[in-house]
Point group: none
Chain length 225, copies 2
DNA sequence: CTATTTTGGTATAAATTTGGTATTGTTAGT
DNA sequence: ACTAACAATACCAAATTTATACCAAAATAG
């Protein structure tokens, strides 16, 4: 069973991407048709999401012209990360996430691990749907970061997720997410969670490193195509 | 008497997950069918539990649309860094900087290492001026990050630096930066740089970990004062 | 300036998803 | 045996999304 993606969810993604400056970083958003393609959703849904953001006074919609970010310098505080390449992203995650695993062991509650478990179970049935799988993957890493209770780390991982989603929406989703890859990821996710449950910090960190190494391989393989 | 699972128990689980933000943390809950799968329970049970939560005004059920979490939400949208504590900061750096050292070995040019060297030499003469020393320390870690050539990592380290400076401006500068501490830091910086020059990734990473461990100790010691 | 392209605005039908409801069978506790 | 709660299944009606198509205004190219 696949979770339906609604206009509210799209609105949330757009809002986050706008606030993080991941989206074009300019005042003007891509056209509704482009956004529909990037977020893999119908134009009507994008339109509904934009209307939500318009009501929130986050954007201004000008017919015939485009949709503009209206917030006064919405994210002057955090410069932005436009030019980061996928490989740079993997390296950054390589630095962050193994230690996230170690901290998770120290701080995660049983309840939170169960929630992650449910995500993994669901992802086992999503190897036919790369889009839904990718969302689940993001959720997995986000929830894992949240178990650390470290607001700074949670925020940083959130930023890297924004960049990652932006890349994946742009292209190369089917390139890097074929079925064998997704099955490998599922297995690695499982191993990470198990190591955390067993309270084995270095095992969990190593499992995460293996996972990211697989992601890097998948990237270079896609680049060679 | 054997306890049955019961819709009330499911309702309690759902309520806790909603309040803890474990469940999606957004407005809309997963559909009843998905919840039934996740909680390993029949849909009718989920339905009854949701009705209980609806009576409690915790959620709103909209036929054909979905079940929505009612009430507050605007807080969660801005998980900013402002609230990060010094200990959270150290943990984040603990995640980042050891790997920065490893990447530095792969990417640093001789010229850049020489520049860092000059910073360290300068800092040797600054143990009488905590403010200048702190500036040098920030510069050391920033330059180190820049040698990785990874824009995302550079940006992240820059963000953590601004958080760090924010804390240091606030107070606990003299608390955590007495003369013996500064001399220890100088020695550790030197050891990190040497390990990078010798192209010993794990040695460099370990030296950085020692350095951060010292910083953490310095913090807890200051907090105990 | 004019012609073309691009953009948001609108409308429509089909497909999908969702909550609402009913039915039947199973299981646990009395 | 009886009863109540849950599981499993099927079907319904409403809401939403998708996929198109076409329009008018703005932007752009010539």
């Amino acid at each position: 069973m696949i979770q339906k993606i609604g206009s509210h969810e799209i609105a949330n993604m757009l809002r986050q991407d706008i606030l993080n400056g991941v989206l074009n970083s300019k005042q003007r958003l891509p056209s509704e048709r482009i956004l529909a393609e990037q977020y893999k959703v119908a134009r009507g849904t994008i339109r509904e999401a934009l209307n939500i953001l318009a009501i929130e006074k986050l954007v201004e919609i000008r017919p015939g012209s485009g949709t503009y970010i209206i917030g006064e310098n919405p994210e002057q505080r955090f410069p932005m990360i436009d030019g980061a390449s996928p490989l740079e992203l993997v390296d950054a995650r390589f630095a962050l996430e193994p230690h996230v695993c170690r901290l998770a062991i120290l701080n995660a509650r049983q309840q939170e691990l169960d929630a992650i478990e449910r995500i993994l179970v669901e992802m086992n049935n999503l190897t036919e749907d790369p889009i839904a799988f990718s969302r689940g993957d993001t959720q997995f890493h986000t929830l894992l970061a949240e178990t650390t209770k470290n607001r700074l780390l949670i925020w940083i991982v959130g930023q890297t997720n924004s960049v990652r989603n932006q890349h994946q929406r742009h292209r190369m989703r089917n390139l890097t997410l074929d079925k064998p890859t997704m099955e490998l990821y599922n297995e690695q996710h499982r191993r990470i969670l198990n190591a955390i449950r067993d309270r084995e910090p270095e095992l969990a960190a190593q499992a995460m490193k293996d996972h990211l190494e697989a992601a890097r391989l998948s990237l270079t393989r896609a680049a060679a195509t």
